[in-house]
Amino acid sequence: MTTNPRTGTRDDVTQVQDDRADVRGDDLLPGPAVDARDQVVRGRGSRIAGVVITAFLGLYVIWTLVPFYIMITSSFKASDAAFALPPEGDWGGAVSQLFVFSPTTEHYRGLFAQGEFERYFTNSVVAAVASAVISVVFGTTAAYAISRGRFRGKRDLYFWIISTRMAPVVAVTVPLYAIFKNFALLNTLPALILAYTVFNLPFAIWILKGFFDSVSYEIEEAYMVDGHSRWQALWKIIPLVAPGLAAVVVLCILLAWNDFIFAAVMGGEAAKTLPVATQGLKSASGIEWGQIMAAGVVTVAPMLLLGIVIRKYMVQGLTMGAVKQ
């Protein structure tokens, strides 16, 4: 939903945009309505343009999906098949090699046969979920307070919160490594959970504030007039920001799940996560590409599923709320 905090006239704005969407045709460029366009670009030219556009979008989709395709198929190919390439320039041979092979699950079995990969998976889940829950619980109350409160230094507080989120991961790792070493937290899951919270908590506050801003204060007010306390009123409006909460949980999980640096430096063997384990397959006794691809699939698949579930909020989250959907 598009909101306009400046005027508070969300519904009107959304309405205007919906109207515009109706007018917008299926034509080239941010152009005018269809009838106006026809006067400028006539039939044949626009058909050629249409073909060019479709071709470009098609090529872009292929460029985006080919690495996924090769990762997935290589994870199911026997090692000799995955490593074989046709002679240079033999495009026909390439096509048959890309699409025709007898699938095997040997790489997946190899991964889990070591008995450790399940543990890495569990570590990833625990670290990501714990950090997401902490961030959302603390983030919800703080976001509510920032959305509703007016106090001196609010802008500075804002800036501090968002700049924490934007800090370079390695720069944060240096002092955290020293601190966690002093507290004997290195190579434990709590160290990772705290480290992920450095980025997830400001993110949760920042995004959830946007969601609270779009809930009218009058709703809480009505509850408070009815004799509910402010805490109860906050509790009552939680359902209204529930989609935001779900989106933030998923995005926090995504950030923690995909992290490499923190886990590589502070996780050690005891708190090894999937990305570190996948990279680790490279240095251990030669490069096991088949297993790396299988590990990649195991690492990426859950996030793809989650991402599709909250597709609507993905862009908003990835842009720190700069883009509202």
């Binding site: 515009r20 152009g31 902490i134 703080a142 705290l194 408070m224 490499f260 842009t319």
Partner: protein, 316 residues
């Protein structure tokens, strides 16, 4: 917020958000998160400053030795430090230009496509992939013996000798390609959101005047999406400083330091050589640049929201 001032709370006799009574409720809501975040960001920041003036002891319980400005002096005379800034700048500028150019084009076409929703779902996919996994996957594609992209480049005659990642001339651009693959969609989606706000009647008028699609874009659409473009550019710059997973997976900084961006140099100094004091100095300079960029980003964000007016602040 303008929304809040419009509410008739005071009239109804309930606590408005800015009264002292309301603040008693707000403080306990706000403080736990602020304290937690302070422990996780300000405390380490103070540590970082402390470390930058010390040779940090590594053995358990080993004391850190005060070395004054040694780390800082070393940094300013370290040629690799400055070279790594250069690599970072080159990498960021090239990937940013490609991502913004390609992303804007994509956004324009997406905005006109019947299959916008499906295409966006496809475009989101690379962004879900752990960057280190993306790096490993592309290392596989670039591999000089069995990599499909290596094979493709050889087959169309774009690569005469050597491997893609093994040559100092091509390694950095190969990593740029990975960044473009993973993050161009983000730029496209930000720009797309800006395009949705382009006033259609103005575009129509521009078309009626006989301006072609390109001129209409520059005259009418571009001013409207300038804000979105700026946010996209800043976010990509920040992420290029923040995330080095592609580099770790693909090259580790080589060959011949040609891909050793500054955050990677910091990583190497701190966690390969365990020069944590020196690493702290480098980290502080990186943080400084990040904070400057962050200020720009936040200013951009705030242009979309009203600043709390002086009057509001005085109410407290």
């Amino acid at each position: 917020m303008a929304v809040d001032t419009a509410t008739p709370g005071a009239v109804l006799g309930t606590p408005r958000p800015n009264t002292p009574r309301a603040r008693r409720y707000l403080a306990p809501l706000l403080l736990p998160a602020v304290i937690l975040l302070a422990l996780l960001s300000i405390y380490p920041f103070v540590w970082l400053i402390y470390m930058s003036f010390h040779a940090v002891g590594l053995a358990p319980g080993a004391p850190s030795e005060f070395v004054g400005l040694d780390n800082w002096q070393r940094m300013f005379t370290d040629s690799q430090y400055w070279a790594s800034w250069g690599v970072l700048a080159r990498y960021s500028v090239v990937s940013m230009v490609l991502e913004v150019g390609l992303g804007t084009l994509l956004a324009i076409l997406l905005n006109r496509s019947k299959h916008e929703k499906l295409l966006i779902t496809v475009l989101l996919m690379p962004m879900m992939m752990a960057p280190v996994v993306a790096g490993l996957l592309w290392q596989y594609l670039y591999n000089g013996t069995f990599g499909w992209y290596f094979w493709g480049l050889r087959s169309v005659g774009l690569l005469d000798e050597g491997t893609i990642l093994g040559s100092a001339d091509t390694a950095l651009w190969a990593i740029v390609a990975v960044d473009v693959w993973e993050w161009t969609p983000l730029v496209a989606l930000i720009v797309l959101s800006g395009l949705k706000l382009v006033p259609q009647d103005q575009l129509e008028a521009s078309w009626m005047d006989g301006a072609g699609p390109v001129r209409s874009f520059f005259q009418v659409a571009l001013p409207s999406i300038k804000g979105s473009l700026m946010i996209a550019i800043l976010l990509r710059f920040m992420d290029n400083i923040r995330i080095i997973d592609h580099f770790i997976a693909l090259t580790g900084g080589g060959p011949a330091n040609s891909t050793k961006v500054l955050p990677l140099y910091l990583y190497e100094q701190s966690f390969s050589f365990f020069e944590l004091g020196y690493g702290a100095s480098i980290a502080l300079t990186l943080l400084l640049v990040t904070i400057l960029f962050g200020k720009l980003v936040v200013n951009r964000f705030e242009e979309r929201e009203p600043r709390p007016s002086k009057k509001d602040e005085e109410l407290v």
